[in-house]
């Protein structure tokens, strides 16, 4: 070790903070200049840490499960009454659905309809929050030989969640639909009016750019649109809610505050990716 005199050591110590602050600005420039390097560093770190996160996940899930259980016990009576009403209503819908299904089958037979192949999907567990203060994203833990690729569409058990934007060897990052950089082409199911669903970092994304004359109405169902070749048409997204101030928002079907396991669908579409996903979408493996 180099021995320094006390004054020079003090001078070095006093200098290190300004020098490192300058280095911090340098890191900012580096982050802007070589986004690919930064992305690779992030995913390497996430790959290394995802087993730890997966292990920590167990007790966290147990505690959350316990809390949810306690909440359910507390609201048992009210929940029971609500479910009885729901059941009554759903029974009527079931009758309608069965009749429609039979009618549909009959019509398909007459048209010799070729059904769409049901898309393949794989499931992955959410292991970490990958959003930070100003973004909304989650990190998925995937096995070492996973086939997760950029641009795949993530859904939870109820509806659309987001898209895969970064992929490491053991983990993948999903940008949520609520993120401020998220733009999802959607269609309102009743009026077939196209619109853009724009994330705000809040819990409800905003609807924008609908065609003149067909404003979305409160309670309309919103599904994805196949515009721009980024999503297949018809994935369930949410319901339109018009706020008191007149803003048109979408209440998502997916429960983004309690994501647990996501389904990743590979529709083989390579449309636009969000701006921070610098690399091109990887081509689908040949089969």
């Amino acid at each position: 070790m180099i021995r320094l005199s006390i004054p020079s050591r003090q001078a070095l110590a006093r200098l290190s903070l300004p020098v490192l602050i300058a280095a911090a600005f340098g890191t900012m420039l580096l982050g802007k200049a070589d986004a690919l390097l930064v992305e690779r560093a992030r995913m390497t770190l996430a790959d290394a840490l995802s087993p730890i996160w997966a292990a920590v996940q167990e007790p966290v899930q147990a505690v959350r499960g316990g809390l949810r259980e306690a909440d359910a016990l507390w609201n048992l009576r009210a929940e029971n009454a609500r479910l009885r009403d729901d059941n009554e209503r759903l029974r009527r819908w079931q009758a309608a659905a069965l009749a429609l299904e039979a009618e549909n089958a009959l019509l398909r037979r007459q048209l010799s309809w070729v059904p769409d192949p049901s898309p393949a999907f794989r499931t992955a567990r959410v292991v970490a929050d990958a959003g930070g203060t100003y973004a909304r994203a989650v990190l998925l833990g995937a096995g070492p030989n996973h086939a997760v690729r950029k641009g795949q569409v993530a859904l939870d058990e109820r509806g659309f969640v987001g898209r895969v934007t970064e992929v490491g060897s053991r983990s993948a990052r999903v940008l949520l639909a609520t993120d401020i950089n998220s733009r999802i082409p959607v269609v309102t199911e009743a009026s077939r009016a196209r619109a853009m669903m724009t994330g705000t970092n809040g819990s409800r994304p905003r609807l924008q750019h609908w065609p003149e004359g067909t404003p979305p109405r409160d309670g309309d169902r919103v599904v994805t649109s196949a515009e721009a070749g980024a999503f297949p048409a018809g994935l369930p997204v949410g319901t339109v809610r018009v706020s008191e101030g007149g803003g048109v928002e979408v209440e998502l079907f997916a429960q983004l505050d309690r994501l647990d396991v996501l389904r990743l669908f590979d529709f083989g579409l390579s449309g636009i990716l969000p701006p921070e996903a610098v690399a091109r979408p990887e081509p689908r493996a040949r089969r």
């Binding site: 903070l17 602050i21 911090a24 890191t27 996160w53 959003g131 930070g132 203060t133 401020i180 970092n201």
Partner: protein
């Protein structure tokens, strides 16, 4: 001195290991806290909020173990973990460290409420710096709510974290002074 104590025992491997562990604890403990803060519990932005209290605490009470290079490393870890624009966390943590060093001579003699109040002011400043830098690097102004939330989270987490770290600091000081 009238009283003669026992001569200091020579620096053995175990004692050196002990001292090394004490010197490394603030950095490693904070890094572990950051990694654990990334586990999703329904509160976004927890990593950035939980990085502030330990950096401030150790910069005030044990600056030798929380040196500028260590703070730089923790900031880098925070930026990589939270997928924030690279450099924002580094700069905010370094500024917090600098502010804590400035206030240190006066602050170490104060009681807990005064230290907490000072930390609240520093946390608000750090969130503001993070807000402005994120806006500059992303070329659009983010919403103000997450920045306020971050400052609030950090200020709210300080009492619990500060109490725990204070206990650890006391134990460490006692161990250093010897029997």
């Amino acid at each position: 001195m009238a009283r003669k104590g026992r001569p200091q025992p020579p620096m053995g491997t175990l004692r050196r290991l002990d001292a090394g562990a004490r010197a490394a604890f603030p950095a490693l403990g904070t890094a572990l806290l950051l990694v654990l803060a990334a586990v999703p519990v329904g509160v976004p932005g927890l990593v950035a909020a939980l990085a502030l209290p330990p950096v401030f605490f150790w910069s005030v009470f044990r600056p030798a173990a929380m040196s500028p290079p260590v703070v730089f490393g923790l900031g880098l870890l925070q930026d990589l973990l939270s997928f924030a624009p690279l450099g924002v966390g580094i700069l905010t943590l370094l500024l917090v460290h600098g502010a804590a060093l400035r206030m240190r001579p006066w602050l170490v003699r104060q009681g807990f409420p005064v230290v907490w109040l000072c930390f609240c002011a520093v946390a608000v400043g750090a969130s503001a710096v993070g807000f402005v830098l994120t806006g500059l690097l992303d070329w659009h102004m983010p919403s103000r709510v997450p920045a306020l939330l971050q400052a609030g989270l950090a200020a709210g987490a300080y009492p619990a974290l500060g109490w725990t770290l204070g206990r650890i600091h006391m134990v460490m000081t006692r161990a250093e002074e010897g029997p």
